[in-house]
């Protein structure tokens, strides 16, 4: 109750209510997320249920064009799946992977960044060089490499059933240095402050000082980074799927939908690629706009021209 009262009187809420861009982005994001996670309830068809899919329905254009079918609002793809439903299910997968990968990045990055910043010295050097090495491989390269190995060892069928956790793992591991560096930088600033010395004079163990005292004071850069990283992870997933290394076509994410429609774009069926593309752009745009606003609120000293 107390927390709610503090939230209602906070500058955070005030600036949110006075920023139309932030409000608009939040509403769009909320609608998209609700539609995605409520896809089984909202979507008119179930694209995973092969008994309801008829190949004769393939490549039907959206309703406002000729030869359209009123059953399929945004048309169908090459396999006869309703585009709208497939996109909603696909967005759910994209969001799950994006959020999951960000959590994994945050978990690894925060722990290693805290240790590196607080302990300093050799441990710091070792962890930060490890981060440099990790960053010198691009996410795509790591993913291509690992998925090739995975598919060679376990076969393509196993890969298709394991695709979501696999992508979370790959994107999470490839991007943890972003968190580690951000956290380390704020830990270096915080650990000089006298409240940390006071905790040390009390004799508190260093793990407790790191978690209970320093980490809560580094939350605002972590929060800012997280919004950016979710968008980034969704994009990485889309890029991997577009390259055919991500979600299989039987369980498409937005990226693999764009990819599957790409073959038909010159035969006139532009909607298979364009609608998921627009949805992806909209999703990333609103997340980034929200992230921008969060950054403005939490780091007011940051000058932005």
């Amino acid at each position: 109750m107390n927390l709610w009262k503090r939230f209602r009187g906070s500058y955070f809420l005030y600036s949110f209510l006075h920023d139309p861009v932030a409000m608009g982005s939040f509403i769009v994001l909320a609608v998209l997320a609700l539609a995605a996670f409520g896809a089984p309830l909202v979507a008119p068809h179930n694209p995973y249920d092969t008994t309801t899919i008829d190949i004769m329905d393939s490549e039907i254009p959206p309703v406002w064009m000729e030869n359209a079918d009123a059953k399929f609002l945004l048309g169908t793809d090459a396999q006869g799946r309703d585009m709208l439903s497939t996109m909603l299910y696909g967005m759910r997968i994209s969001l799950v992977i994006g959020i999951g990968a960000t959590f994994l990045q945050a978990a690894i990055g925060i722990v290693l960044g805290l240790i590196a910043g607080y302990k300093g010295g050799k441990i710091d050097n070792f962890l930060m060089r490890m981060a440099d090495v990790q960053l010198s491989f691009s996410t795509l390269m790591v993913a291509i490499f690992l998925s090739a190995i995975f598919q060679a060892i376990f076969g393509v069928a196993a890969f298709e059933s394991m695709a979501v956790p696999f992508l979370v793992l790959v994107i999470g591991i490839a991007e943890w240095p972003q968190y580690a560096r951000t956290v380390r930088a704020s830990v270096l600033a915080e650990k000089k402050k006298e409240y940390v010395e006071a905790a040390r004079v009390m004799g508190l163990p260093s793990g407790r000082i790191m978690w209970r005292h320093i980490l809560p004071n580094t939350m605002s850069p972590i929060l800012v980074l997280s919004t950016v990283q979710v968008a980034h992870a969704i994009m990485s997933e889309a890029a991997l799927s577009f390259l055919g290394l991500g979600m299989p076509i039987t369980k498409p994410s937005l990226g693999s939908l764009i990819n599957s429609g790409f073959d038909y774009i010159f035969s006139g069926s532009w909607w298979i690629t364009m609608f998921p593309g627009f949805l992806l752009v909209l999703l990333i745009l609103v997340i980034n706009l929200l992230g921008d606003w969060v950054q403005d609120v939490l780091n007011p000293k940051l000058y932005k021209g």
Binding site: E194, Y195, E197, A198, A199, R200, V201, M202, L204, R212
Partner: protein, 340 residues
Amino acid sequence: MTAQTQPLVGITDVVKHFDISGGFLDRLTFSGGLPSLTTTTVKAINGVSLDIRQGEILSVVGESGCGKSTLGRTVLGLYPPTSGRIEFRGERIDNLSAKDMLPYRRKMQMVFQDPYASLNPRMTVRQILEEPTRFHFPDLSASQVQDKVAEVMRQVGVDPAWAGRFPHEFSGGQRQRISIARALMVDPEFIVADEPISALDVSIQAQILNLIMDCQERFGLTYMFITHDLSVVEHISTRVAVMYLGTLCELADKASLYGDPQHPYSRALLSAIPRLGSAGFSHIRLKGEVPTPINLPTGCVFHTRCPHTDERCRREIPALRLLPNGSQAACHALEEGRIW
């Protein structure tokens, strides 16, 4: 002198050097065509020995950068000393592991300079005060801890009803009271106060000083009071240690230091206190600047600025000696009777 009674805290020949060499490439130099690694150290404390007696307020004074804060932090084990011994009631504590140190952590506490940085901004006052108690007295029940928090808050003059608030909701003086309360929560015997009033308004300074002295009386505390404010020192201390460039110049009773300062640096320092009513302002002017602690002068660290320097001062480091008036000072000129 009561040398027979055991001091509460004993500091023997403590040296603290900080390595500021930086990375490998910063250290690499070429001398005579050969590569070599140089080490740059800041010599913050150079062989300080002093005893802190039960129940006294020992003030440590000196200008900025003379190592007084470093000394306080080294005594509490925040910095491990480069060499030397630190004892608490005769038990050596500078080489203990974090676990063996815990019983002493309860006995020795610290009050910090900046009341805006010394309280965790994400914790309420109750959390700040409860944490040390729960940690050091795990047997206490929740209600006992709460009672103790309320009691200590009352003792330092903060309304216990405000315990649910965050530090930023308090003024500087109130925060410093909370900071003192945090130190008192574990029933310490010895408190290092590192310039506890320097960041406060003059009107608040007196209140906090009175609180500090009040706590000393009520709980039988011993303080090491680090400050550069000489009028505060005169008001509060039992004995005074004057430091210059990481070295102890003079250690004396308050009365002897203020009445009859011995060491040339103490004389210059005390003559710089502005006084009401005296016509003109004649203080001893020291020439030059304080040398950098990276390259210490040879011999007596004060010889570059001392009006009584001779050849021996440049060569030999003076030791702390007992003088006829009961003070101790480290000065060749005093020992030889060149000045009096």
